[in-house]
Each structure stands twice: as C-alpha cells, then as structure tokens.
Symmetry: C2
Subunit: 128 residues, 2 copies
Amino acid sequence: MAAATLKNIQKCPTSYVLAIQDTLNAFQGKWKMPIIGTLLFGKKRFKEIEREIPKITPRMLSQELKDLEMNGIISRTVYATSPVTVEYELTKSGKQLSKVVEAMLEWGLQHRRANMLELLPILQSKTA
Amino acid sequence: MAAATLKNIQKCPTSYVLAIQDTLNAFQGKWKMPIIGTLLFGKKRFKEIEREIPKITPRMLSQELKDLEMNGIISRTVYATSPVTVEYELTKSGKQLSKVVEAMLEWGLQHRRANMLELLPILQSKTA
DNA sequence: TATAGCGGTATACAATAGTATACCGGTATC
DNA sequence: GATACCGGTATACTATTGTATACCGCTATA
C-alpha cells in the first residue's frame, strides 16, 4: 500500500480530506489549542485548566472540554471523592497531536524569519 | 542553540506561542484550507479557483485571497493582458505549509483508525 | 455560621464569520 | 447588438462563536 502522503491524495481524496478536516476540527475555535497545550504537560483538573488559561470562562471551558472528549482527544475521569474530583487527560490519540503542533511551530518560526527578511529592506529604506 | 521543539517551549514561550498562532491563522476559517489545497497543485487564476472549490462565493474567495496575500502565504500577479489576467500562487513559505498539512493528514488518519477500533466492539454488541 | 473552593450550568447578549444576490467595467464571441 | 467570461465589489442578511454575569449543590475550613 502506498504511504498516506499528500502526493497520493488522488488515490483516496475523500478520506484524505476528511482526515485533514478532523485535524483542523481538533483545533477549531479560540480555546482548543490553549486547552490541548496545557494538557500536553499532563492531566489537569477543571479549575487548574481554568487558572492556566487567562480569560477563559467556565462556560467555554466546559463546552470545549465536552467537544474534545466527544472527538476522542481527551478523556474525563471522575473520582468518587466528596465532592467529586474530575481529571482531564489527553488520550493516546490526543497526545499524538503534539506532532502536528510541532509541525505548526516549525512552520510558524520559519515563516516569521522569512517575512522578517522580506520586511527588513523596507523598514531600512523608511528609516534611512 | 537548542532546537525549536515543544520540549523547549519554556525557553521562549511567547515567540513559540506566536509562531503556532500564525500557523493556525493560516488555516483559519472555512475556506483557507481548500484554497491552499488547490494552490498546492500549482498557480491558478481567480475563476479557476472558484470553479475548483464548490459553493465558495466570489466574495469569500476574494476576501480570503487578500488575507492569505497579506500574510505572505500567496502572491498575486497581474499580467497586463486585456482584460487583465490575475494569477495566484503559493509563496515559498506558503508551499512549506504542505509539511503541516502532511502532519495533519497523518494524525487524522491514525485518529480515525484509533476511534474505529474503539467503536467496533460497541457497534458489534449493538447488532449482536 | 460565614466564606471559599470545586465542577460546572443558565440566560442574555455582542461580535465575528459566512451567505445570497445583484452588480461593475472591460473584452471577445456569436 | 446580445451574451458570456474575467476579476472582482456592494449591500443586506443569517448563523455561528464567544462573552458577561449570575448562580447551583456540595464540602472543607475559619
């Protein structure tokens, strides 16, 4: 079987497109990346996440956590303490998202370098 | 200098976060991925892109092309034919986005496989 | 008994994103 | 002269997202 790479997209365009859409979906909205980001450093409780992400409201956090759970990216565990303790953790699949984030990081850094090099002469001619 | 990887994010958290945000931004909205996707196969004219992306309106296409151009992801070239011919093409940096898309594709495919394996026993017990 | 923390939910609203539809000037074709 | 293609823009609207604010039952602590 051919490797699943963009060059082979003609072989099964629909499932490739769906796969990419799934990934985009995992990061969709203002808060998914911050949430995934904090969970990449380990399991956390609701209020912990809330404290680590400035300005997020409990409504949004609750909503996005549900969404991520439904999509199999995080798991929610309730411990029968009293009152209950709830822990959120990336699933195996969720942890793999770090590869995508890594690729995003690399692109973002190189893109900023490239744009900087393009802007430099312009900035210099303005200040000269 | 340390490699720019997520494990080193403590070293310059702000610029790492900005870099990731830039990448997310490149794909933000309903139409950016389809547009980038078609341009990964080569330069195209406005109406060509419009025809290749079902249901996109010229308003959205125009808006998103401007946005991508401003962010240094595509370039717009006007040829002095009459009437004018306009060509859109990924910049060098834009072409590098294929690496990110590739990572998204891989994650999406493995995630679907993983979820399928999880759902299978459930589906089987329902039909049994 | 009052206060604070936990893990959220409810309601109402504001802002952003996307759609529908029609139209523009220029040119080549029938 | 009418129609169609090019590369878009204008206006008005709808739908989706996100925010603000207040509140819930429960429990531990002062």
